[in-house]
């Protein structure tokens, strides 16, 4: 029997709603896929698109951004900013050949442990069906790393 592929999903969960939803899912002993690795951020609006790309680049098979429902963000409209970024990011990821299911934005309030659990289950299933992303090896071919470049000012203009 071959082992089924277990995708790695990096989750960015907002402190005030979705992280609490995950907490609740835990204390309520809800069974759901263990594939999402949660990272707590203060607000879904804190999620820089660089975080998403970096996760994909460094080996994640999918990225979930989870925040409060629109209208319920603790910073008023952080999640609406997140939604704007997400919609534009999706358009760009399509051009880069990243399947739509791999990057998702979901809303889950602090009381919706069950909803978050369901969304994680659903996304895990979808990403599992797509198979591993393995960007570094499969797309770039490995050994061709990105370099972070330091910046230093040069002499003033003469």
């Amino acid at each position: 029997m071959t082992k089924q592929f277990e995708p790695v999903i990096v989750g960015f969960l907002c402190n005030w709603c979705s992280y609490r939803a995950a907490d609740l899912a835990g204390t309520a002993r809800i069974h759901y896929a263990p594939n999402m690795r949660p990272i707590r951020v203060m607000c879904s609006g804190r999620v820089d698109p660089q975080f998403v790309l970096k996760a994909l680049r460094e080996g994640a098979d999918g990225v979930m951004i989870a925040g409060c429902h629109p209208g319920e963000c603790h910073y008023v409209n952080g999640n609406i900013k997140a939604l704007r970024r997400f919609i534009l990011l999706k358009a760009m990821l399509r051009q880069l050949g990243v399947e739509e299911e791999r990057v998702q934005l979901v809303w889950a309030s602090a009381s919706e442990g069950i909803i978050l659990a369901e969304k994680v289950d659903k996304m895990t299933k979808a990403v599992r069906a797509l198979g591993p992303l393995n960007w570094n090896e499969k797309v770039i071919g490995g050994g061709n790393g990105h370099k972070v470049v330091v910046a230093a000012p040069v002499a003033e203009e003469v």
Binding site: D48, P49, Q50, V52, L53, K54, L56, R57, H69, P70, G71, C73, V76, N77, I80, K81, L83, R84, R85, I87, L88, L89, A91, M92, R94, Q95, L96, G97, V98, E99, E100, W107, W135, K138, V139, I140, G141, N144, G145, H146, K147, V148, V149, V150, A151, A152, P153, V154, A155, E156, E157, V158
Partner: protein, 341 residues
């Protein structure tokens, strides 16, 4: 008389504009000629690769390498010049971060060949002749360099000492950098730390642009040909994608000053790894659609409608930095060879 320091300049996948930008430092070019001996510079002097091969390692003091790594010849020369040079400068946007050639990372080698040798409207190639790396003719075997699937920046194949951004770099910046290097070589003045981006101001292009800036709230984006911009107001506020806010300064904001949105050729600001992602983030935050209190479906629909007016987000935000971006290239699926899933 002591020996003059040796200068080289070579091109990978480039347009030739970088060479012109060096010659464009005006009368300073005479000073360059006075200070340096040219060791290799195919654009202006007759040198062959075997000359370079015959040099001792580190013989060339400063090598300005412009152009991206598109094929095996580019890569071979990058390795050779790295070995023969004390200071290797990634000169211009192509060598620094891939630039226009690296936009082909959004598609496949096959699709690029198809466009160039098959489908171009101006093409006359009825037999579908495509260059091969090897072909046998009566006189023997002819070879051509191998065309790579992915365009790389110079630092993705060899170690680079300095990066001088720009498409092409501005002449006053080139001269400023050359002076620093010369002071280092001749007078032992300290050089910037290896790996530095030089010839930049390390503030956003917006800082160098005098257009009037107010709050940004954009409901529709325009391509340059669709709008005659107001001469005073910030271009982004008018719905023209201007990369100024995600781009390192040093150029003096030349493009926005004349009504063309910043293309982003000076690359990311310090501390930013992925210029395109940062630009995406900035553009998304000024989208003037979707408010607190709207229904979820309506919210998405309104925002989507604005996003749909941005043509080619990947090609726009990564116009110059595709090779250096986090994902570096598109994942190519399907038979069309394009990045579409």
């Amino acid at each position: 008389m002591s020996e003059k320091p040796k200068l080289a300049m070579y091109w990978g996948a480039a347009c030739g504009g970088c060479e012109i930008s060096v010659l464009n430092i005006h009368e300073h070019i005479l000073t360059v000629d006075e200070i340096f001996d040219i060791a290799f510079f195919p654009c202006i002097a007759d040198f062959k690769v075997h000359h370079v091969e015959s040099y001792d390692d580190g013989y060339i003091d400063v090598c300005l390498f412009n152009g991206a790594i598109r094929n095996s010849e580019n890569e071979e020369m990058a390795h050779l010049l790295r070995k023969k040079s004390k200071v290797l400068v990634a000169f211009g946007s192509c060598a620094y971060e891939g630039c226009i050639p690296a936009l082909s990372n959004l598609t496949s080698k096959e699709a690029t060949f198809n466009t160039v040798y098959g489908e171009n409207a101006s093409l006359d190639n009825p037999d579908g002749i495509v260059p091969l790396t090897e072909v046998d003719v009566a006189e023997g075997t002819l070879t051509l360099p191998e065309f790579y699937h992915t365009v790389k920046s110079l630092d993705q194949v060899v170690d680079v000492d300095y990066y001088l951004p720009g498409c092409p770099p501005e002449s006053h910046q080139i001269w400023a950098v050359l002076q620093v290097v010369v002071a280092g070589l001749l007078e032992g003045a300290p050089l910037p730390p290896a790996g530095s981006v030089v010839g930049v101001t390390n503030v956003a292009v917006c800082e160098e642009c005098d257009r009037v800036k107010n709050e940004k709230n954009i409901e529709k984006f325009y391509r340059p040909y669709q709008i005659i911009p107001d001469p005073e107001q910030c271009l982004l506020e008018q719905g023209i994608v201007c990369m100024g806010l995600a781009t390192n300064g040093g150029c003096g904001a030349l493009c926005p000053q004349v009504g063309m949105g910043c293309r982003g050729c000076y690359g990311p600001l310090p501390g930013v790894e992925d210029q395109g992602a940062k630009m995406l983030s900035a553009v998304a935050s000024v989208i003037g659609a979707g408010e607190v209190g709207m229904e979820e479906a309506e919210l998405e629909e309104k925002i989507q409608a604005v996003v749909d007016t941005i043509a080619d987000p990947a090609g726009t935000f990564y116009r110059f930095s595709m090779a250096h971006s986090m994902l570096q290239r598109a994942k190519v699926n399907g038979s069309n060879g394009k990045g579409e899933a």
